[in-house]
Assembly symmetry: C2
Homo-oligomer: 443 residues x 2
């Protein structure tokens, strides 16, 4: 699928909006507009690749890797990395990076252990037992993008919840275009408990994980970000395996009460905008002078950024400084936008929490920069984008487990329930259901 | 999408398999094979309907309802049922049905209240707070099929978890082909806490729920079963709103140790097979004489069924009596099939539970007929089909809630984490991330 977006860019700068402007709603809608649209050509190519991998297995994977990632391999062994290779990457890191990665992995693990759902059951007066049994998936597949935008933090965030969930086997795929391998990514895989790595990418990697080949085991769920081919392939195999949400561009909504250093806020907006030109950074405040000060910080700091061009384009096309009337309006904006990242740069963020219905992650207080959550605070950085926080949650341990209902009726319980079930089944004209229940009624 | 299936029917009867047969794996795979295949024509018609509802709103809904459900309405008011109408349906039921429906609703509510996830948080040594806030969806849409296969139990099973979750507004849609309305369905909606009912169906109803019209409010998630147009429409709007799984045909796997009355088991298999010709009923036992006895019960009882023709076709095309060697083989079969419904008709079902990794719902002991779970035991009857219990769960309260991560760093915590984040961000060449974190490092 390709993505289209309505742009309302202010040439050379970030949009300035005031909620009492007559056209505020229209302008905000235009800024937020984002819709993935299916591209028939990409869809057809992806369907063909999936069919080919299902038909030819490993041979197809070798062909596509040579063609699309410009490799020259002749066997799957050359597309497989073993545990020793991962450990070698970890040991080979500079001490400072190794320690930082280890500290991040440890914090992410601790947080996710708190998240683990437990099996439960209860016994009724007649001895019947009801409950739910929680079990991990057998196998999870983690897709990690290759090339330039290769993020070791994403490996930690996707694989650690699976590991904490108790998934028996975690398979990672990462393409190596032109043979390029990122040591930090392999080290992260080692730390996160990845069991096998295949250097595969694109729709062919997704197809291999969904259906299995001679070498790649079939998994039960595929998670992780990817380009348009990966996203389209994930959508195509949805149902055959589980998938996580298809992510849109990353976004942040910052609410400031005027008490945070404007330079800090400018950099928080930049840290979102530097992801790519479609990323969205919005600041809301009721303090007009404060918004002016942040605007001044933006103008002054922008030229000092390594990724200045990307940030400039992102802020101009999708960013905004919004002046609202008060806290009530700010909260309405939060729930309307349902942001992926919400930064409450306030003196009293706890007072706001009960009113916030939709947000992927909430960063509270002036010190909690969103970037801390991207790497090492503990909670997951895989979050619902484009307003999907209305109905979706951060990636978590629960995404790598599933539940089975438990029903164990005592003879008395079955007899009692049988009477009710019989009446309802006959009301639906399902008489074999009724008779099956009636056999268990005690006379 | 249309569905294709490989059939290995034994003319006039249910397949008999033994696990030590040379072709057992092949025959089992063929029996289980089920794949939804996209039908380009259906997809195109659904896409056109969705586009039309987005463009014309209520006017399109009125047109499609008149055309496809053969109505003659001129306003949305004629496609809207109010609370008084639902209560009237409830009060008008025969006492026996009203009491049975009320008892079922009460048990379903009690079970689902146990399932409610809670918000949690913890404080670290440096004063930083981490956690997760659980919130209900604002609005849920429940699709209920109309016409002949209208099941009040499905209304209870889909709407009660939403109500228990605390969803602010539950919207139900149910088509009324030729104006046909099912009073039991309306009564169930009354009991389950449905707020609004629109007598709409098909792709147009899904489009209205996903995007909203002048009259129908946009919802955050759409659940409930439907025909091929409904399933295709749900797939198309996935991402714009949340959806539940796209269900395949219903299935049961019964494991018997030989001690259950063969007539009971035959009727349990029938109760699954009577749903439709594609439903799947499989019985596994290591007791060959017992399998013979069940076969005899099937032959004797089949002619007594109201839905004999459907059951006969279902058993012949997709049913099986499987003789395995022992408990170990039976457990391997369970985990391979990952059945929607698993009936453990055993003297010691509790001993088996720890080994069962994949099943939608587990019915334990000789008295727990699957039909009890369909109506009134308490657990949900919306369950993962076609082996998707490998990665999916029963519909539950958790499907109508979402989580927001909470991160509130103390100044000390932010300083400490800032150092780690800075190193990792620079490792990913995201320097605005690094600088945003570094601002919070205390010198």
């Amino acid at each position: 699928m390709t993505t289209t977006v309505s742009r309302t860019s202010t040439p050379g700068g970030i949009s300035r909006l005031v909620t009492n402007q007559a056209d505020f709603d229209t302008r905000l809608e235009a800024l937020l507009a984002w819709e993935g649209v299916s591209d028939a050509e990409v869809k057809a190519r992806v369907d063909a690749i999936i069919a080919d991998v299902r038909a030819r297995g490993d041979a197809a994977l070798i062909d596509y890797s040579n063609r699309l990632d410009r490799l020259q391999v002749t066997s799957m062994a050359e597309l497989t990395l073993d545990q020793a290779r991962l450990e070698q990457a970890y040991q080979g890191l500079p001490a400072e990076q190794r320690d930082a990665l280890t500290a991040a992995a440890e914090r992410i693990r601790l947080y996710h252990e708190r998240q683990k759902p437990e099996s439960w059951r209860y016994t009724e007066a007649d001895g019947s037992v009801l409950g739910q049994q929680v079990a991990p998936l057998d196998r999870a597949g983690i897709y990690v993008p290759g090339g330039k935008a290769t993020y070791p933090s994403s490996v930690l965030m996707n694989a650690i919840p699976a590991h904490v969930a108790g998934v028996r086997e975690i398979i990672m795929v990462v393409p190596t275009p032109d043979g390029m391998l990122n040591e930090l990514v392999l080290a992260a895989a080692y730390l996160a408990g990845v069991d096998h790595v295949f250097t595969l990418g694109g729709a062919q990697a997704v197809a291999a994980l969904a259906y299995g080949t001679e070498t790649v085991p079939r998994v039960d769920k595929i998670v992780g970000p990817g380009n348009i081919y990966v996203a389209t392939a994930k959508r195509a195999v949805f149902g055959q395996v589980g998938i996580d949400m298809i992510a849109g561009p990353s976004e942040i909504l910052v609410i400031s009460d005027g008490g945070t250093n404007p330079d800090w806020l400018a950099m928080d907006l930049f840290s979102q905008a530097e992801h790519d030109e479609d990323a969205q950074a919005i600041l809301v405040s009721w303090d007009a002078a404060h918004l002016e000060a942040v605007q001044e910080s933006i103008d002054r700091l922008l030229p000092t950024l390594e990724r200045e061009a990307i940030v400039r384009e992102s802020l101009a096309s999708r960013g905004a400084l919004i002046q609202c009337r008060d806290r009530v309006e700010a909260i309405a904006l939060i729930n309307r936008i349902a942001p992926e990242h919400l930064e409450l740069s306030l003196s009293n963020p706890d007072d706001w929490l009960p009113d916030i219905r939709h947000a992927g992650a909430i960063f509270m207080g002036r010190h909690t920069a969103e970037a801390l959550g991207d790497y090492c605070a503990g909670p997951n950085h895989v979050l619902p984008t484009s307003g999907t926080a209305r109905f979706s949650s951060p990636l978590g341990v629960y995404d790598f487990q599933k539940r089975s209902s438990i029903i164990h009726c005592s003879p008395e319980g079955a007899s009692e329930l049988g009477r009710v079930a019989s009446i309802l089944a006959r009301g639906e004209a399902l008489t074999a259901h009724a008779r099956s229940a009636e056999y268990r009624i005690e006379s």
